[in-house]
């Protein structure tokens, strides 16, 4: 049937020159560098703000720190559509669970919900997520749910394409028992270094500090980013 349609005398219509450039047909990805650090009394989370479609920056002021519940946030990396859809679904599930419980949900519960979804649909999804927040039972916690759907608690976690460039820095700089301000500085430094080296990360640095008293959000604009000796 297909062979019959392609008759010998058919004129060759070439649609090879496509008017729409390549990047319009690329999937939107949060190239990304994301990070979260535990401290005594809460967590600090940070992310860059660049979303790319191929080589074009679709959004240079993205907010990759998504609120899941009052004191639980997640950092999103990977496919923008996948992570937004997962975050929306988990926000709904956690909200429902919290109403049933009549209590603030645990960070571990949120992380579990992410893990369930990311593991079950691991073949279809491209999502690397860091879940962090504060709850009454265990205080500040950071859980990482990378691509594939594993879930593990870590004192600090980095993720996204830009994280490869800062493993050495964070491993050498991290100290146990840092204060909130030290954690914020540590995160800002790490993200700046990653954004400097990774093409898919850039824009501004978004920070969030979550503790018992609530959430404090900050933005560090381009010209205020920490500078390092090489430039």
């Amino acid at each position: 049937m297909a062979a019959a349609m392609a008759g010998e005398g058919a004129t060759r219509l070439s649609y090879n020159h496509n008017l729409t450039p390549e990047w319009t047909r690329q999937e939107v990805s949060t190239g990304t560098t994301i990070m979260a650090v535990e401290f005594d009394g809460g967590v600090v989370m940070g992310a860059d703000s660049r979303t790319t479609t191929g080589a074009y920056i679709a959004n240079r002021v993205t907010d990759k720190l998504t609120q899941i519940h009052d004191q639980i946030f997640c950092c999103r990396s990977g496919s923008a559509a996948d992570t937004q859809a997962i975050a929306d679904a988990v926000t709904y599930q956690l909200g429902f669970h919290s109403i049933e419980l009549d209590e603030a949900p645990l960070v571990q519960t949120a992380a579990n919900l992410f893990k369930e979804m990311c593991y079950k649909y691991r073949e279809e999804l491209m999502a690397g997520i860091i879940v962090a927040g504060w709850d009454k039972r265990r205080g500040g916690q950071v859980y990482t749910v990378p691509m594939g759907g594993m879930m593990v608690r870590q004192p600090f976690s980095i993720g996204g394409s830009g994280s490869s460039y800062i493993y050495g820095f964070v491993d050498s700089s991290y100290k146990r028992g840092m204060s909130k301000e030290e954690c914020l500085q540590f995160t800002a430094n790490a993200l700046s270094l990653a954004m400097e080296r990774d093409g898919s990360s850039g824009g501004v640095v978004r920070l969030a500090a979550i503790s018992e008293s609530g959430v404090e959000r900050r933005v560090i604009l381009g010209n205020q980013l920490p500078k390092f000796a090489s430039c």
């Binding site: 008017l19 979303t51 923008a80």
Partner: protein, 277 residues
Amino acid sequence: MASLSVCQPQCGGFSFENSKRNALLEAEFTKLGHSLPAARKTGTTICGVVFKDGVVLGADTRATEGMIVADKNCSKIHYISPNIYCCGAGTAADTEMTTQIISSNLELHALSTGRPSRVATANRMLKQMLFRYQGYIGAALVLGGVDSAGPHLYSIYPHGSTDKLPYVTMGSGSLAAMAVFEDRYKQDMEEGEAKQLVRDAIAAGIFNDLGSGSNIDLCVITKNNIDYIRPHDKANKKGVRSGSYKYKRGTTGVLTKNIIPLDLELVEEVVQTMDTS
């Protein structure tokens, strides 16, 4: 006597088997030296900007089928609800149908809630539908409107990701339009300024991108008023031919004339009345 039952467990979700088959067919076709007809795409420049009292949406009016202009004056700004409009880039059929489906569902939703629809609701419905189809619906949208919470502007990508921003551009001419926005956008612009900015951004797309052309359509949405200006600017008016190229009678001389009448005989006459009831 035993009925043959093809045991296929009922799986939820969509089956994308046909997509694999289509890819195979296309590969075979290309091997024979022919290509499948391309779906009509709106090459397109679309954009939107939030100003002091609302949003301004803009679009060009060219629809392309490969390298040919299929429609010189198509309408790319679609109605979603009285206070919400949506520009569409990508596959023309997909943007048209997607916006119609969501418009219909949103009207039912508004009747159910008893309140005018919110832009965030339209955004949720669109992104959840596009994500469900995993990018196979090629609709890239700029959604804008004014609701009880103020003016809002979203960009929605075919895979289902959305961004909420003060100014957005989409389509093949989006880079040209974004260049204009990045240069001249300011917060809290007046309506006139915003319209001029959107007009210039679309014009940049029209003149610098082959996939966009013809006229500029605008849609200004404010709290109590919609201005659907089509066309706002006829940037590409068809020129008037300066010379007449018709040959005068007598240019070709007639040497001989031979008239042969055809004798036709009426064989059968059948009258069929038209059903005009």
